[in-house]
């Protein structure tokens, strides 16, 4: 088979066993691509257990900057015997299989349409390392080295990465460098390097970083001035709190006393985690928690309290595949509806939908500002793909002169100066009352916080009209919120196009690529990315400006579409569903195929 040469446009998949240390080797490969200035995004596809099951690491390399997942594997590094059969099947015709040739592959494993690259990884390890504990780890470095040679990558980049990785355990450096070279040399001596699939240096990653959303949110919470974090561990949100703790430990310990300028508690469950957030926010600290689906369900009673008693709260929901325990290590965007209306009664919550780690950082700051300004819960909806996978993203920046917006808080002086103050009085006509922080003033500003019905002065009431007035004020506040949340990103707006694509969160990568695929087929779409709920006027106008909207979601029930209809009277027939919900990050091909399918269907009867 003669191969077309493919430069800087590849999917490389590593099939390994979890708990064997392959993660850091695989990661090094992705980072090397990044360092060569080529856009890259890796994804971990891991099982819900700790050790011994198949796990995959998929690296998409694309110099056009298409960084969503793409089906069709070009190069498979298959080092897991358990999954080998299936792994081989998953390679696209004409692709490469890199495997450990210490043992010969059986007949069963041979596909005519693939290139086989056998590297005797284990036997190289045995030859060169005495300590059997090193064998597994060095094997990983060997295939990384081989890849370097096969793809024509820069070996200095890898050597540098090894130096950095083991900066604190220097004596491990030579062994690892050696393993790299064993792989490189073997590949170079036995195969024609580089392959037709190869990587060439570019300069496309300037001012970009490679990090994950959970890290970005955790870091964002530090910069946002959050001091109280409580949480209950759950995949895929755990690493968000870990990041917060890590950064706090670095930047929030008082140098003179060694004491912490933050407090974290691992709560006994998610109900307690949210309770702590409300207690702390009530007391004037910026407080937050993070969870995933099951935790969101458990927090729903407390979220209702936040809404009705008007207590700020920031919650990160790193979504995974539901319902119930579902697929805990797979992604989805399926908590949209339950997050928006969490809790019984007439409740609504602000949602934010970041789509990159950079935006995770930035929106975390926004989340705290909104929560305090509007005195209500803000739920940042990310997902497993965004939270746990590294993404190529703009470097973190702070807005100029950024100041925390602590909202309408009465100081002792304000209390002295005010003629009348009532916790739930709408003085400004925007539905947002003034609050006090307990302990502010020796004789003024105390009030009773409760989830039962209250009048503007915070007194308990069972008067239906007073209650209804309060509910209407909350509606008015909601309107104010609608004018203040982050507006959408209008990605493309050409008035001559009648149709548009709308998406949010991690579908963005694939959506942008899908637009180009469709464009190539003569289908031009406008595009908008939703960044928050409630929906600002621009979103509504954008929708009204088109005949058909293709709404891309990673759930089964088209939950964002539901929100658009409920809140903004968007006619349902106008919004076509493009839904992927199998737990894998959505692909551009899927989106463009679905859109074309819908276009080919007879127009639906509009009643």
């Amino acid at each position: 088979m003669s191969q077309p040469v493919l430069i800087n446009d590849l999917v490389v998949r590593f099939a390994t066993v979890n708990g064997t240390g392959s993660a850091s080797a695989n990661n090094m490969f992705a980072k090397a691509v990044y360092r060569m200035g080529i856009p890259v995004t890796p994804k971990n596809i891991f099982p819900s257990n700790i050790q011994g099951l198949p796990t995959w690491y998929e690296v998409r390399i694309n110099e056009k900057g298409y960084l969503g997942r793409r089906d069709g594997i070009d190069i498979m590094v298959a080092v897991n015997a358990q999954s080998l059969k299936k792994d081989i099947e998953s390679v696209r015709s004409g692709g490469y299989l890199i495997y450990d040739s210490t043992k010969t592959l059986g007949e069963d494993f041979i596909r005519e349409d693939l290139h086989y690259i056998g590297i005797p990884m284990m036997s190289l390890c045995m030859q060169h390392y005495n300590d059997p504990r090193q064998h597994l780890l060095m094997k990983n470095m060997i295939y990384v080295g081989a890849l370097c040679a096969l793809l024509g990558m820069e070996k200095e980049v890898f050597e540098q990465l090894v130096q950095e990785q083991f900066a604190k355990k220097e004596k491990l450096i030579p062994g690892n460098i050696q393993a790299l070279h064993l792989g490189m040399n073997y590949a170079e001596s036995n195969f024609e390097c580089p392959l037709p699939y190869r990587l060439e240096r570019r300069n496309l990653n300037q001012n970009k970083i490679l990090t994950d959303g959970n890290n970005a949110c955790g870091l964002g919470a530090v910069f946002a001035g959050a001091t109280v974090g409580s949480w209950y561990p759950i995949t895929p949100s755990t690493s968000l709190m870990n990041a917060f703790e890590k950064w706090c430990t670095k930047y929030r310990i008082d140098a003179s006393t060694g004491r912490k300028n933050f407090a974290m508690i691992q709560a006994e469950d998610e109900l307690a985690a949210m309770g702590m957030v409300l207690g702390a926010s009530w007391n004037g600290a910026r407080a937050f928690t993070s969870t995933s689906g099951p935790g969101l369900s458990l927090m729903s009673e407390f979220l209702g309290l936040s809404y009705f008693a008007e207590i700020p709260a920031v919650l990160f929901d790193v979504q995974r595949s539901g319902p119930s325990t579902g697929m805990p290590t797979r992604t989805q965007q399926s908590d949209v509806l339950s997050a928006a209306y969490a809790s019984h009664g007439d409740t609504k919550h602000i949602l934010l939908f970041p789509s990159t780690p950079n935006e995770c950082f930035d929106m975390t700051l926004t989340a705290f500002d909104l929560a305090e300004f509007f005195q209500t819960a803000v739920i940042v909806l990310t997902d497993l793909d965004l939270g746990m996978n590294d993404h190529l993203t703009d470097a973190f920046t702070l807005r100029d002169n950024y100041q925390y917006n602590r909202g309408k808080v009465m100081t002792a002086k304000d209390l002295d100066d005010a003629k009348v103050w009532g916790r739930y009085l709408d003085i400004d006509g925007d539905g947002i009352p003034y609050r006090t922080i307990p302990g502010t003033h020796p004789s003024k500003g105390s009030f009773f916080t409760r989830g039962s019905s209250h009048d503007p002065m915070a007194a308990y009431t069972e008067d239906g009209d007073v209650y209804a007035d309060g509910m209407r004020r909350l509606e008015k506040k909601w309107e104010t919120i609608r004018s203040r949340v982050p507006g959408p990103e209008i990605v493309r707006f050409d008035p001559s196009h009648n149709e548009a694509i709308i998406y949010f969160g991690t579908s963005s990568y694939a959506a942008v690529e899908a637009m180009d695929i469709l464009q190539n087929q003569g289908i031009a779409l406008n595009a908008l990315r939703i960044k928050s709920f409630p929906f600002t006027e621009e979103i509504i106008e954008f929708i009204h400006a088109h005949d058909t909207i293709y709404l891309v979601e990673q759930n089964r029930d088209a939950q964002m579409r539901s929100l658009l209809m409920i809140e903004n009277a968007i006619p349902p027939s106008k919004i076509k569903k493009v839904l992927q919900f199998n737990g894998m990050p959505i692909t551009a091909q899927f989106i463009s195929d679905e859109i074309q399918k819908i276009m080919q269907q007879a127009p639906i009867h509009h009643s």
């Binding site: 970009k208 910069f223 957030v277 207690g279 009530w282 302990g439």
Partner: protein, 350 residues
């Protein structure tokens, strides 16, 4: 609650150390049933805070849901109240304490609120030695939902409709001891003399102070056969000791010599004076406390008074190693790392 409240003061009312009258520690008029034990406990709280000269705005009173959990409206009207959701006050109080270590936290709960729906949070607040005085107004039933047996109802207790409770009752003091609560006491709403000093000591204790107060529900659980009625409690009460809370420096010196009194110095300047009544019991010795409690239980006595206190324990703030400045008072300057640092962080991901 406009704060245009009348500031007129009757000049004859005795004022406490900070110049406040007892009235200033009261709250709104109670809507509980006439004779409800909970109202007496509110009274004891008012009296204790008045006598201790607590600044009302430095105290946060938190509760769950229930008749008992309504009481914070009826005491300390100038303090900050938070009537949260059923059974989840401990977590809200924990968050509040994390945010501001300088306020005094008073948690009020019912036996349903604590021992049923709130069990998990109660246990974990104890485990963390949260700085709070946690008062359970224990009537063995769910008052607000009309008298169902609660998890503290004793097996064999007869409720108003004549049904006998089948399930074993949870002894909150026993549970507290087992879980390592650092201050454990029991009292009776009808015995203010015992209750007031316990509340004072509990408010002073640095860490989790539990007072389980038998507080009869006159409407649903004060009948014959109930083991949480006024009559039954009066008949079966057995006190460990008479205690008093003495502000240390001022008074300890000339009390030093009273023979039967044991003095327990607290972390601040005050001291608990224990006039030992019970033999074979030392409030500082956990085993003796557990033994004493088990023994009373076997004899169907309700052991009241201070049961155990650990004056050496590390409170939540010590365990978390948080700064002395309350976290809610740290400014953006202290909290937000600089843009330069952010730049350095970016480097890590390049």
């Amino acid at each position: 609650m406009t704060y245009a409240r009348p500031t007129f003061r009757n000049p004859d009312l005795p004022l406490n150390k900070i110049g406040r009258a007892r009235k200033e520690y009261e709250g709104a008029i109670s809507t509980l049933c006439a004779g409800c034990g909970h109202d007496s406990i509110s009274g004891a709280i008012i009296q204790a805070c008045y006598e201790m000269a607590i600044e009302p705005h430095r105290l946060a009173k938190l509760s769950g849901i229930g008749c008992s959990s309504k009481t914070p409206t009826y005491f300390l009207g100038q303090s900050h109240g938070f009537n949260s959701v059923h059974g989840r006050m401990p977590s809200v109080a924990t968050g509040a304490a994390m945010a501001n270590r300088d306020l005094i936290y008073l948690g009020v709960s019912g036996d349903g609120d604590t021992a049923s729906i709130g069990m998990g949070q109660f246990v974990h607040a104890i485990r963390r030695n949260l700085n709070i005085l946690y008062i359970v107004m224990n009537n063995g039933c769910y008052g607000l939902t009309k008298g169902q047996d609660s998890a503290t109802a004793d097996a064999g207790s007869i409720n108003k409709s004549g049904a006998e409770n089948q399930f074993q009752g949870i002894d909150l003091c026993g549970l507290g001891l087992e879980l390592g609560a650092t201050f454990v006491a029991r009292s009776f709403s009808g015995d203010k003399q015992q209750l007031i000093p316990l509340i004072k000591a509990g408010l002073t204790h640095p860490g989790f102070a539990l007072i389980d107060v038998v507080s009869p529900c006159v409407t649903f659980n004060n009948n014959a056969g109930s083991t949480k009625s006024y009559d039954y409690t009066r008949e079966h009460m057995e006190a460990t000791a008479a205690i008093d809370l003495v502000p240390y420096r001022e008074e300890i010196l000339h009390q030093q010599d009273k023979g039967t009194i044991k003095y327990i110095p607290l972390h601040d300047e005050s001291i608990i004076a224990v006039n030992k009544l019970a033999a074979d019991w030392d409030p500082l010795d956990k085993s003796s406390a557990m033994r004493k409690l088990a023994q009373a239980r076997n004899e169907h006595e309700i052991l009241t008074g201070l049961i155990y206190v650990d004056t050496q324990s590390k409170d939540l703030h010590t365990l978390l190693n948080t700064s002395d400045t309350p976290l809610n008072q740290l400014s953006q300057t202290v909290l937000m790392p600089s843009a330069e640092i952010l730049g350095k962080i970016n480097k890590l991901y390049q």
